[in-house]
């Protein structure tokens, strides 16, 4: 039972807001515990927004970003600062540490602090980054398998903290100070306020200023909206550009760099909608209840970072390179042009009237666009519901299948009786959201994958057997070290083959990557222990392969049934007089 919990949240404001369901869950799980949030000085101002936090610790590393600030250019000063900060933290006697940062720095910090129970990344004795929790291991492989990931980062982090995040949304504390915002810009109570967040941390992720300007004009002319452009000081230039490109300048207020966090919160709350790139402001606005029209370009992926609450609309280009990998430099940015201002304007107009998100008529399956609505699904899991109905493809099928698989496999308490319920629910959603008429073709493609799964299972069984031999040999005391070494080499060969199957079958790679990740996190020198744990990894892989196969087959069967039902009840088959 934890009484004194430390949460490391050393990333950005948006990430901090995304931890709110976890923090709420921890508070419910440990009602008497004190929760302390450790943040960096850059985003310390956001801590008052985070509910259920009793205390905060600020680590100021920004003071060292200019060598001249080290006074005498000696890093001894940084050492002493870190030493004192860490010792102060240690003296607080935390009994549970949750590290939601994936930086090496935070992992080393976890090691230094030596808190007994840790969730998240830490460094082992040799400085290697490790994580024991299955959900954090999944987080470690997700980056290589983004196409097949359906989990929002909120869900991954929350589940790694042992918090069931179903039905939960992000939330923030509301600002009590009502007075200051009126001085920032005059507006009337009944006015339709729509916010724009045009900047973002990476330039490639931004919708062009011209697009924002055109949208502003459409919203102003069609809905008499007032537009507020938000952002930090460095984004003022973008904001000014939008204003200068728009025709209706008098209805546009540029508040970039002019608001503190409290003022920003108040203004966002007053906005009916926020049209935004993938930013921290997006999460803040969503948590305050403002409807988001989100734009996801470059590496931004709505499955990972959509605002974690229902009722938001998200746009993303559906082109082969989206989302792009981290670290690439695009020299032909086309994704931003797929989203046209009239799409957003039309969607917002309809939403105002009907309080529902309706796909604009101009968008067809050929528009190369994904349009999603954020919802809770049949099982209260956060989900992106596609509004553009395209044919159900392998990627979509596997994404759904992996979601089912990992929710079951990585959660401590598994509800095995729910399988039928879950399959039914998933298939109903698939039928609703995708054109499943060509399920036979999909099934044909899946047969090949089943065969690969069998190959992986076969290899895993071989590996499992080899581990068994090592265990028997070593624990029986008659382990020939040469023989053990030979088994070790043979196991490496098996693992290499498994890895190759994953590389050559990307849909299955999450399985093989998780297998590798589990093995990476095995620590120690005891051969018997390592063999036992490795054997467990093989068993897990076998079970996961079998489960995935079961899920896919069940879905195909169910979808085929639905399709048959559709055909059998189609009017075309009904005898019509005179036909």
């Amino acid at each position: 039972m934890a009484e004194n919990i430390l949460i490391l949240s050393m990333t950005r404001m948006g990430d901090m807001i995304q931890t709110t369901p976890l923090i709420r869950g921890l508070k419910e799980k440990y009602p008497t515990a004190k929760i302390t949030l450790l943040v960096t000085s850059d985003f310390a101002g956001a801590v008052p927004l985070i509910p259920d936090v009793d205390e905060s610790i600020v680590v100021d590393l920004r003071q060292f970003d200019k060598p001249e600030n080290w006074e005498d250019r000696s890093w001894v000063k940084i050492y002493r600062y870190l030493e004192k900060s860490m010792e102060d933290i240690r003296s607080s006697n935390f009994d549970l540490l949750v590290n939601l940062s994936h930086s090496k720095f935070s992992a080393l910090m976890v090691r230094y602090l030596g808190i007994k129970k840790v969730v998240g990344f830490y460094c082992n004795d040799f400085g290697n980054r490790m994580t024991g929790h299955p959900w954090m291991q999944y987080f470690g492989v997700e980056v290589f398998n983004r196409k097949y990931n359906a989990f929002n980062l909120v869900e991954i982090f929350s589940r790694s903290g042992g918090v069931d995040v179903r039905g939960r949304a992000i939330e923030v504390m509301r600002s009590q100070n009502e007075l200051s915002v009126d001085t920032l810009m005059p507006f009337e109570e009944e006015e339709l306020l729509i916010g724009f967040q045009a900047g973002s941390s990476l330039e490639g992720r931004r919708w062009p200023a011209q697009s924002f300007a055109s949208l502003a004009d459409l919203l102003i002319e069609n809905l008499n909206a007032r537009i507020i452009i938000f952002g930090v000081e460095s984004e003022n230039e973008v904001a000014e550009e939008i204003k200068s490109l728009a025709k209706n300048k008098d209805r546009i207020s540029n508040l970039a760099g002019k608001t503190n966090l409290s003022e920003l919160s108040q203004l966002l709350e007053k906005c009916e909608y926020l049209v935004t790139n993938d930013t921290g402001t997006m999460h803040l606005a969503a948590a305050l209840g403002t409807k988001i029209v989100g734009l996801f370009f470059a590496h931004a992926h709505p499955y990972e970072t959509a605002p974690f609450s229902p009722g938001h609309l998200l746009f993303q280009a559906r082109i082969s390179c989206a989302p792009c990998s981290y670290g690439v430099h695009c020299n032909d940015i086309v994704c931003v042009d797929k989203v046209r201002p009239q799409y957003l304007s039309s969607a917002i107009e309809n939403h105002l009237k009907t309080k529902t998100w309706i796909l604009p008529e101009q968008i067809t399956p050929d528009s190369e666009l994904n349009v999603f609505e954020t919802v809770f699904d049949f099982d209260m899991n956060f989900k992106l519901k596609p509004l553009v109905r395209i044919g159900l493809g392998m990627d979509d099928m596997f994404r759904e299948a992996h979601a089912l698989l990992w929710r079951e496999r990585l959660t401590e308490k598994r509800d095995v009786g729910k399988f039928e319920f879950l399959i039914n629910g998933v298939c109903e959603d698939l039928i609703r959201d995708y054109d499943c008429s060509d399920i036979e073709s999909l099934d044909e493609q899946l047969q090949k994958k089943y065969s690969i799964l069998e190959d992986i299972i076969k290899l895993s069984k071989t590996g499992k057997k080899m581990c068994g031999s090592i265990i028997r040999g070593v624990s029986g005391g008659n382990g020939n070290s040469n023989k053990v070494a030979q088994f070790g080499e043979d196991i490496s060969c098996v693992d290499e083959k498994i890895e190759v199957l994953g590389f050559s079958n990307p849909e299955l790679r999450p399985l093989t990557d998780m297998f590798s990740k589990r093995k990476e996190n095995l620590a120690g020198n005891n051969v018997c222990f390592l063999a036992i744990e490795t054997q467990k990894s093989y068993i897990d892989l076998i079970n996961e392969c079998e489960k995935l196969k079961e899920i896919l087959k069940s879905c195909v069967e169910k979808l085929s049934d639905y399709r048959s039902d559709y055909i059998s009840h189609s009017s075309i088959n009904v005898a019509v007089p005179g036909r």
Binding site: L61, F64, W75, V76, L82, K104, F105, L108, Y112, G127
Partner: protein, 597 residues
């Protein structure tokens, strides 16, 4: 009485180089010698008497009254005069004295008017030497200075400059300069460029090199492109321009405080101007024979300073062309590379020999060395005709040798032949002036050498005592026979030779002298270069507290150079066992520094 001839004869025994210089100096017109009341000669320069016109010896004794002898330091006298104060010091103070006097004219007058004999055994005269040379070679940290005030008045500029030089030395010691070295494309100066870089780093400066040698192959390939000489010239010129751009790009990024180009560095006058636009000194060390490689004509006037292996005629020529500044800076050894090495039995078999020569097959060597074929003689080097009888003595098939191998060769031979190259002499260049780097390198390796006489040799060594030189090939053969049969004599000379080079003729000495000369007139720029920086490790230990856990931990890095946070982090990564708290903190700090730089 005229003591000059007698004095010159004595001086030639002790300091032949100084003797040569003063021999060339006619009796000065601007120095008047008068008799004091008690009959001693007194010099007057520009109407100023340098000693008492009544009792100069008494005055000299009184003048040194306040001088406090320090046995830990070297006594250095500013000003010669006619030596009355020096005589007084010789009576009061034990050990050697060094006398610093700018005026060769005064020394000439001294040599004429005063018996030098009583001085010679304990006085080292440093006449007309530049402050940079004195400071870089004479360990000024150990100077205990006596100032002869009348001499100071006469030579005010010189002694002020000397004092400024000491100040600049202090500033340089506490600053980390950023020096960019432009290497030659190829040739004998390339090792010198590497040694310059090494020496500057050892002195605590930050060095970046423009590795032009990486482009040598490309330049070489150009020759095969066209036989048309005009077009070939265009290609070469364009290539040089390109190399100049490379140097400029490097300089822009590195932001040096000084740029040093070595001989055959591919920099055109335009490129040099571009570098000078950075408003930092751009200097050239021409480590070649100006007669053999005349391309210096094209570039000399572009540089701020030119350092040369030869003075005299070369400096006259340079000045006539309008160079801003030229300065004599001879070659040197680099003790990091050139050192005594114990050799294994196998290595002794491979490299060991009575007489060895390491070098290229220049004309005079091809002509001279057959005389040695009756001896146990090995040749190492390049461009030898292996088909000739002499060529059959070449051990390495003309393949390039590594610096490590060369050092072994020097260490292994009983006698190293050091015949300076000539493309047209039969044996010895009778007017050879500069001293090649091999002379210093063999000495630093504690190898015994026989070297052909060079005009500048006596400026570097006491010939006959610290080094043995021959004037003719016959003498060369005689010396070989003599020293082969006298190993103790060889060893004694080798040791003196070694002591002399490490005391005055290392690349660090040269770089020190170069920097002093360059920055003597740029003291203000040193002030703006940065705050005082000490040895980084000492500084960190002081910051941490010597007796703290961290301070004690850092002490294990003493001797590691250069030292930085990376040194500690790499040490941790290479370590074994679990990380302790301190190591974890260092790795955390490395992440912070990485993120913020």
């Amino acid at each position: 009485m005229d003591f000059f001839a007698k004095n010159l004869k004595c001086l030639r025994q002790c300091d032949p180089e100084l003797a040569e210089r003063v021999a060339l100096q006619p009796f000065p017109e601007n120095v008047t010698v008068v008799q004091s009341k008690d009959g001693f000669p007194i010099p007057r320069i520009a109407g100023v008497a340098l000693h008492s016109q009544y009792r100069p010896a008494e005055e000299g004794a009184k003048a040194i009254g306040d001088f406090a002898f320090d046995p830990e330091r070297n006594t250095v006298v500013y000003g010669l005069g006619f030596g009355y104060h020096i005589q007084a010091l010789l009576q009061q103070v034990p050990g050697e004295l060094t006398v610093v006097e700018p005026l060769m004219t005064l020394f000439r007058a001294f040599m004429t008017s005063v018996d030098i004999q009583p001085f010679l055994s304990r006085v080292r005269f440093r006449i007309g030497e530049t402050p940079a040379c004195l400071i870089s070679r004479l360990e000024p940290d150990c100077w205990n200075i006596f100032k002869h005030l009348p001499s100071i008045r006469i030579g005010e500029n010189y002694y002020n400059r000397l004092d400024e030089g000491l100040e600049v030395k202090g500033l340089l010691q506490n600053r980390t300069l950023r020096v960019m070295i432009v290497n030659p494309l190829y040739g004998g100066s390339l090792p010198t460029a590497h040694h310059c870089a090494g020496a500057l780093r050892n002195m605590g400066h930050e060095v970046a090199t423009v590795d032009c040698e990486e482009f040598a192959q490309g330049f070489s390939s150009l020759k095969g492109v066209t036989h048309n000489p005009e077009n070939s010239e265009i290609l070469s010129r364009n290539f040089m321009n390109f190399m100049g751009e490379i140097a400029a790009a490097k300089a822009t990024e590195f932001q040096p405080d000084l740029i040093l180009a070595l001989a055959q560095a591919p920099l055109t006058p335009e490129a040099i101007q571009k570098l000078r636009a950075l408003k930092i000194p751009v200097v050239f060390w021409f480590v070649e024979d100006f007669r053999t490689l005349p391309y210096w004509n094209e570039v000399a006037t572009s540089y701020d300073h030119i350092f040369t292996l030869q003075d005299g005629e070369f400096h006259d020529l340079l000045r006539s062309k309008g160079v801003r500044d030229c300065y004599y800076l001879p070659q040197a050894c680099f003790p990091d590379v050139h050192k005594h090495l114990p050799l294994t039995e196998e290595e002794m078999i491979k490299y060991g020999v009575d007489v060895s020569f390491m070098g290229a097959a220049y004309h005079n060597r091809i002509q001279s060395f057959p005389r040695l074929m009756n001896l146990d003689f090995k040749i190492w080097g390049t461009e030898w005709n292996l088909e000739t009888p002499l060529g059959r003595l070449v051990q390495n098939n003309n393949k390039r040798l590594s610096p490590e191998e060369i050092v072994k060769i020097y260490n292994a031979a009983k006698i190293n032949m050091n015949l300076h190259s000539s493309t047209y002499h039969y044996g010895i260049h009778p007017d050879g002036d500069f001293v090649n780097p091999r002379t210093f390198e063999i000495a630093a390796c504690q190898g015994f050498q026989l070297v052909d006489s060079r005009k500048d040799l006596s400026r570097m060594f006491k010939v006959g005592e610290e080094i043995i030189a021959f004037d003719t090939l016959d003498q060369m053969q005689d010396q070989i026979n003599y020293y082969l049969s006298r190993p103790e004599e060889r060893n004694a000379i080798t040791l003196k030779s070694y002591q002399r080079v490490v005391k005055e003729h290392t690349m660090e000495h040269r770089m020190q002298e170069l920097l002093l000369h360059v920055f003597l007139d740029r003291k203000s720029s040193l002030d703006s270069i940065g705050e005082v920086q000490r040895d980084p490790l000492d500084y960190c230990i002081e910051q941490a507290g010597e007796n703290t856990d961290l301070g004690q931990y850092l002490k294990q890095f003493k001797g590691q150079h250069p030292f930085s946070l990376k040194t500690v982090v790499e040490h941790i990564h290479q370590g074994e066992g679990a990380l302790d708290q301190k190591e974890t903190l260092f790795l955390m700090m490395d992440q912070v520094v990485e993120a913020n730089t």
